[in-house]
């Protein structure tokens, strides 16, 4: 911890490796942060799950169809349910089982599918929650020492409006990517390039290239926004615009380090997905096996959250190693009850 130094020139890969390791250390040193974001992920999903449970229970009633639905899969009932379902019920497809959920969700984003309104609302709330907590999270990881709950939320509040302004810039780019670039790539160009194709394998290859191109654009935007957030917190920057340009400068000057770290983190993510692909529980039954399966799934969610935190922590570590020093944060620890409103009128 705190072993990175900006004084010793190191290769991009070595720097990334150190930041990766340091990031994990910072994540593990602050388990409350992981617990907090897990609680948010659970608590936001729970009410919707309860609504869906009501709908499922109502459709099943006291039918014997519930017997097979409880002990395994009653696909006939399932299809009957979805045929009459509205709202959340329409999202209840076989893709909720095991690893298919990951495929469905990643594919949905990359294919530009729009979620239905209640899900979109939950996603918007979730992303707002992350935008709020990110300040506290980065601040905690940057300082590498406990800042207690009040310090964490004070930092979250202090940086929230800066992050909202940043999110407006980033959101504009994401919107442009999904509203214009995505249809241009996947509807127009893909259709043009595959128009005379009689070989599916080639179409798959083209599709993969397009995913890579589009993914690279998303990642580039993501990187700029990520380092802008880090710079806002570590350097106590007030202007989102200046943070963005500073982020671009940092990425340009430390491109190999940044990319190598992103690749390392992405590989870690892919390994985690592969493991989940192997152990993800199927439909299962009820009782103990159901709860065991649910617990395992929650561990996967915790793992994914830890990976997301690792992206943040390792990027913070990398930035500090190159332009500051470990544990450095320009601002003093924000003091409760300094509120976001107070920050906003400064």
């Amino acid at each position: 911890m705190g072993s990175l130094s900006s004084q010793t020139p190191v290769s991009g890969l070595e720097s990334a490796r150190r930041a990766w390791r340091d990031g994990w250390q910072r994540v593990l040193d602050a388990p409350a942060v992981a617990a907090g974001v897990f609680a948010m992920t659970l608590l936001l999903a729970l009410p919707l799950a309860i609504l869906l449970q009501d709908a499922l229970a109502s459709h099943l009633g006291s039918s014997l169809a519930a017997e097979t639905a409880a002990t395994g899969v009653n696909y006939d009932w399932w299809q009957e349910f979805t045929a009459q379902a509205t709202g959340l019920g329409t999202t209840f497809s076989p893709s909720v089982i095991g690893f298919a959920a990951v495929l469905e969700n990643v594919s949905g984003v990359l294919d530009g599918r729009t979620p239905i309104a209640p899900i979109a609302t939950a996603l918007a709330l979730y992303m707002t929650g992350w935008a709020f907590l990110s300040g506290g999270i980065i601040d905690r990881y940057a300082r590498q020492r406990p800042i207690r709950t009040h310090g964490f939320f004070a930092a979250s509040g202090v940086y929230f409006f800066r992050f909202l302004r940043l999110a407006a810039f980033a959101g504009l780019v994401y919107w442009w990517l999904f509203a214009y670039v995505h249809p241009w790539l996947f509807d127009e160009q893909f259709a043009n390039l595959t128009r005379n194709l009689s070989v599916e394998r080639t179409a798959v290859l083209i599709r993969l290239i397009f995913y890579a191109v589009f993914g690279a654009l998303l990642v580039a935007t993501n990187l700029v926004a990520d380092y802008a957030k880090v710079r806002i917190v570590v350097e106590d920057r007030r202007s989102a615009f200046s943070a963005l340009s500073a982020s671009v400068r940092f990425i340009r000057h430390h491109g190999r380090h940044v990319v190598a770290l992103y690749v390392l983190n992405t590989l870690t993510f892919l390994v985690a997905l592969a493991v989940w692909g192997l152990i993800a529980p199927g439909a299962g039954g009820t009782g103990l096996s159901m709860w065991a399966g649910f617990l395992l799934a929650q561990l996967f969610i915790v793992g994914r959250l830890a990976l997301k935190l690792q992206f943040i922590a390792s990027q913070t570590a990398l930035f500090q190693a190159n332009l500051a020093h470990a544990g450095y944060a320009a601002a003093r620890v924000p003091v409760w009850p300094e509120s976001p409103a107070a920050e906003a009128i400064r």
Partner: protein
């Protein structure tokens, strides 16, 4: 077949002369080999009253075909006719005002195609042999007609006055020349890359019935009806193309102009389709069976699906075996199965002795791809190619019968057989090991459930609402046949279908003919059933309205069961009540009235009640309400599935978490 050998030899000899003399781009002008009326052949299985000799040349650069055909047609009705009517299918995609495209638009299934996608079929010359034996030009007398909807802009049916009456059993000979622009794939015909699938491609006669010509326009939901005959077809293509076609290949001649002429002949078939691509992997296997005639199975496979050859052959053989054992032998010596190219839109089609399967580059071993579609299309050799119903009017008699029979084959021959989903632009499959495909799924209940009332099957199919036509044609029929099977038993159903096949192969049966066979085999007319499933669009829905059990003073229990008919259609159903002591009370309710009430005085309390516990009535659109339990597990089941769903939602949140 040996008696045809002299004629075949004459064909081949003349064909060779024609090919040698025609090293040019025009279709051969020399007279085609004279063929005595093939109907006189002693081994003819069909009336052979519509016989075609076709000579066609593919222009690979222009994506067009020039052809010439000689049709020898015999009037097999008891009425005379003074005209001929032809299908010109490819004119359906000539412009947006054809009936086909109007119907597609009406169904919301139309997207404007690219400018080079359109096709056309123009008859450039038509000659009739008059009574003196001379050919008389009839080109100027041709006119388009629209017998179904009066659409004057539809050019898919052409009428040709004969200038005389062709009486019963009299024959007429016609020569046509035509040019056709090949569409980009439209309704499973066309080209993509170097792949061609060419169907509905030549001017084809309608069917003369006692009431007159039955020549429907090309509609969005229906395709075929034509008479049986002998086809002798020469296809000239650039050298290097692998060609597959209806019938069997009898000659292949390389021409000096770097083209190759492929000659195919088929007897007792009522249509002819072909495919060509230089990329096909050409594989063959011989189907053999102790009691069925051998069949040479040719598989034209896409190179990228080389690894699926065994799966294709396995399901083709399984289908030939089971249909052969169940319904009757496949009598042709060969069968060609085409693995269609990506984006060719030619998958899942049936033509006599030539069918197309359906597959994807990536397909899990436990999925029904390519098995499902391949079994279905091979099965059409029975229900379409041999028992040749009027698909314009009674499509359910081939598609529905075949969907039902396919589901039986898949249930027996494909294992494991699981539901799959596809992601990432549908390119990446995922098989659900927990969800097996069942007969119910293959009989397509889910699709039917949503559109059960769309049309009554007695309505001529071409008048079905285009977007739901397939639901009624395929799904409803398969479901009511499955229901009938559950009621009568498979041995009886098998006898019904084998009797029907034997009686109506190489003929054009109508619905009443099938119903008559059912009556004959079962000894009952089953009018009540066919009234519901064929003559009506009513839905079936039985359920439990009330179920309670109460303890009496004498320690016995009073159990009350109220079952209800929620749908308009009726069907007799069993009602089974189970008690805690393991006893069961079974009632048979005729299902006619809205409700039936059963009250039991028993020493044990009731635990469950089920209406139609064996799921005989597969057409029941809501089976969940068919049962009740006094120890319900709906809470457990809904908890389990909502937890699964919650994990999916959490994962989705985290996926979107990428953006913050």
């Amino acid at each position: 077949m040996h008696t045809l050998r002299p004629f075949a030899a004459a064909f081949i000899l003349c064909g060779a002369i024609v090919v040698a003399a025609s090293a040019r781009q025009e279709p051969a002008k020399e007279p085609l080999a004279a063929v005595p009326s093939p109907s006189s052949a002693p081994d003819a299985r069909s009336p052979r009253n519509a016989n075609y000799e076709i000579d066609a040349r593919l222009d690979d650069d222009a994506k067009s075909i020039r052809g010439r055909e000689t049709i020898r047609w015999r009037n097999i009705t008891d009425q005379g006719t003074s005209e001929l009517q032809f299908h010109l299918y490819w004119n359906a995609w000539r412009d947006q005002e054809s009936t086909w495209l109007r119907e597609r638009r009406m169904a919301g299934l139309f997207r404007p195609p690219p400018a080079d996608a359109w096709s056309s079929m123009d008859v450039t010359a038509l000659r009739l042999r008059d009574s003196s034996g001379e050919m008389r030009d009839g080109t100027k007398a041709m006119r388009f007609i629209a017998p179904d909807d009066g659409n004057t802009q539809d050019r898919t049916v052409m009428s040709m006055p004969l200038g005389r009456t062709v009486g019963p059993n009299q024959e007429v000979e016609i020569e046509l020349e035509w040019t056709a622009k090949i569409p980009r794939p439209f309704a499973r015909t066309g080209w993509v890359g170097d792949y061609y699938f060419i169907a509905q491609w030549f001017p084809k006669l309608g069917v003369l019935e006692s009431q007159g010509w039955n020549t429907h326009q090309f509609h969005a939901a229906t395709e075929f009806f034509s008479d049986f005959g002998v086809y002798d077809v020469r296809l000239t293509l650039p050298r290097g193309f692998v060609v597959g076609a209806s019938g069997r290949q009898t000659a292949r001649t390389d021409n000096p102009d770097r083209t190759t002429t492929h000659r195919y002949q088929g007897e007792d078939i009522h249509d002819f389709a072909w495919t060509a691509s230089p990329s096909f992997i050409d594989l063959s296997q011989r189907f053999e069976h102790p009691t069925l005639p051998p069949v040479v199975v040719r598989l034209l496979l896409q190179p990228e699906r080389r690894g699926q050859a065994d799966r294709y052959f396995a399901i083709i053989n399984a289908t030939l075996k089971r249909y052969g054992e169940w319904f009757g032998a496949y009598p042709y010596p060969n069968l060609t199965v085409v693995d269609p190219a990506f984006q060719s839109d030619s998958d899942g089609m049936e033509y006599p002795t030539l069918v197309t399967g359906r597959s994807r580059w990536l397909t899990p071993g436990s999925s029904q791809t390519p098995e499902g579609t391949t079994a279905h299309e091979v099965g059409h050799q029975w229900w379409y190619a041999m028992v040749a119903t009027n698909e314009f009017e009674h499509a359910w008699m081939d598609e529905g019968f075949n969907t039902y029979a396919t589901a039986r084959v898949l249930a027996e021959a494909v294992n494991p057989n699981r539901v799959e989903s596809r992601y990432f632009g549908t390119f990446i499959p995922w098989s659900f090991r927990d969800i097996p495909f069942t007969r119910v799924d293959n009989d397509r209940l889910p699709g039917y459930r949503l559109n059960a009332e769309a049309d009554a099957p007695w309505t001529p199919t071409f008048r079905y609402w285009p977007s739901t036509a397939a639901i009624i044609t395929y799904n409803k029929t398969a479901l009511w046949l499955h229901t009938l099977e559950q009621r009568l038993g498979w041995p009886t159903m098998q006898k019904i279908f084998s009797t029907y096949f034997e009686r109506w192969k190489f003929k054009h049966p109508k619905p009443a003919d099938f119903f008559d066979v059912v009556r004959e085999v079962t000894g009952r007319a089953h009018y009540w059933f066919f009234d519901e499933v064929y003559r009506s669009s009513n839905t079936f829905d039985y359920g439990v309205q009330e179920f309670r059990t109460e303890q009496r003073d004498d320690k016995t229990f009073t159990t009350t069961v109220v079952v209800r008919r929620y749908g308009e259609a009726t069907f007799p159903v069993d009602v089974v009540t189970t008690f805690e002591d393991g006893q069961r009370a079974k009632e048979t309710w005729n299902g006619q009235e809205r409700r039936a009430v059963y009250v039991y005085e028993r020493p044990a309390r009731a635990v469950t009640v089920q209406v139609d516990p064996d799921h005989v009535l597969l057409l029941d659109v809501a089976y969940t309400n068919n049962s009740r339990s006094l120890k319900p597990r709906g809470g457990e089941a809904s908890l389990k599935w909502s937890l699964k769903w919650m994990v999916w939602l959490q994962d989705l949140m985290l996926t979107y978490g990428f953006f913050v």
